[in-house]
Symmetry: C2
Subunit: 331 residues, 2 copies
Amino acid sequence: MPELRYNVITRDWVIIATERAKRPDQFKRTVPRKAMPVHDPKCPFCPGNEKMTPSATYMVPMDGAWRVRVTPNKFAAVSREGERKRTVQGIKRTITGVGIHEVIVETPEHNRTTALLSDSDAETLIETYLNRFKAASDDPRVEQVTIFKNHGEAAGTSLEHPHSQLIATPVITTQLRDRLFSALDHFDEYGECIFCRVLDQELKEQIRIILETEHFVSYIPFADLTPFSLLIMPRRHMACFNEMNDAEAADLARILRRILLKLYRGLGDPDYNYVVRTAPTENMGVKYYHWYVSVIPRLTRMAGFEMGSGMFINVSLPEENASFLREMSVE
Amino acid sequence: MPELRYNVITRDWVIIATERAKRPDQFKRTVPRKAMPVHDPKCPFCPGNEKMTPSATYMVPMDGAWRVRVTPNKFAAVSREGERKRTVQGIKRTITGVGIHEVIVETPEHNRTTALLSDSDAETLIETYLNRFKAASDDPRVEQVTIFKNHGEAAGTSLEHPHSQLIATPVITTQLRDRLFSALDHFDEYGECIFCRVLDQELKEQIRIILETEHFVSYIPFADLTPFSLLIMPRRHMACFNEMNDAEAADLARILRRILLKLYRGLGDPDYNYVVRTAPTENMGVKYYHWYVSVIPRLTRMAGFEMGSGMFINVSLPEENASFLREMSVE
């Protein structure tokens, strides 16, 4: 019989299709990606084409060129200039679309997919995330900062050159506010961070753990909404992404790269998104919230039931998928 | 400058990309669908192949055959048999996956897409929805019933023969519970149904209205999350789908068919989902909730930002899209 599972952090129910679950290797990509050159003269993110994008807001230099380059998104979802203004008219509420939308070009090499970065390149990337997160959070118009990556068409990108994005918005979303509230509720009732509690439980059970490093743990949640969606969570309690210290940032680079490499090898370089889920900086230091990175391979399609009910059907077993990735070598 | 808009019903913020918005006709399908036969001997939903699916739970007969046929889903997400049992173990909560998962075959004709049903066929379909909604709601193990349709691959279906589905689950989702609560909140504060209020406002402004019939209004919400997502809302206040009377059911059939035909003609038969969003039957008659049908053309991909923040970026203008569909003839 299928089993319904509840995610105590996101408050989502999911149907785990225990009987007709696919085996982990059935999710492997069957059509190989086309080979890409190390440099594409038409790519706006390749070195030499810097004029195709706005001037850099941040850059990590390397040998007279750059290693990581951040620019305002040419097709920004929000406007860098302008004032935050609210209007309320009857049942209509608007805010001017001000904020920050940046592209983080992760490497000069067109074909160096994120999973194949060196540890040192990955460290530079995480340092860049931290720098841009802090800079965006300092903008007084900004309430929420989202750092994310779209890899592959199913994940919503058409540009192949490895890049991440940052969007800072002048409002907190209901999704984040609801999660902050429900974590606060748990703290008030039990006197503990619910994320720390879940992490403890996962470490005790071990069956959904993928990888542990000194400062981070990666696991597949008990109530995983879609196949192979996984978390990378800091062991130390921290509400906000920018509370990380240097050792933790370097360790995050290592575990992120290894997790992406496990997906790359185990599932044949799947399309995926990842996103840093964090409290806003105004909640830095709070005891009830805990930031983490969410990695979501895009292996299935959201259909009418999921959209209509908010409940997902997962046609795989979190425990089997975790075991599959745990055993996938990354050396 | 882009504009952020807030949906007072769903509490979602959306970024309306006013400056780089696409024109309505730029969303039109460019690759035509392949032609389909009126009967496919291999299709499990075609007449003559009834043995390929479980026995019908409901059928509308026609000329010694059937017009609409409902069967348990052969690959059900929930099990028809079994008891609803909860377990709570530490932070883990589960429920046995019992419930109802039915397939509603809408027509015997393999290539008769829903948009091209006759009014009378569409009426039969709505009557069938009502019958199955009531039957599923009567099951004491069931808390929430979702009726939905997936049309086309981007909407999550691989079976071409026109069909809808019903999934009844042993629990209410957080999405629905949150919407019930927030509508109740509004009722307590303002003494009105928030849906009725929004509908009034839309009827006054007219600019986002697509089509009005005697008992229903179809419009694109002010804060539309994705291009051309639209609602079909009953004028009369009703919390629950099965509070509809016969005249309203017949009118829903007419407006649904016309709306689908407008999409079919205007956007070249796009992939889409639709879903009946309703209070559960235990909330029948409440003053604060209002059922409706949500139609969601699948024209864009959800990417990392949407998943990570819960905020959408709509690269089209609700007002322009509504005007485009309003003017699309369906005679």
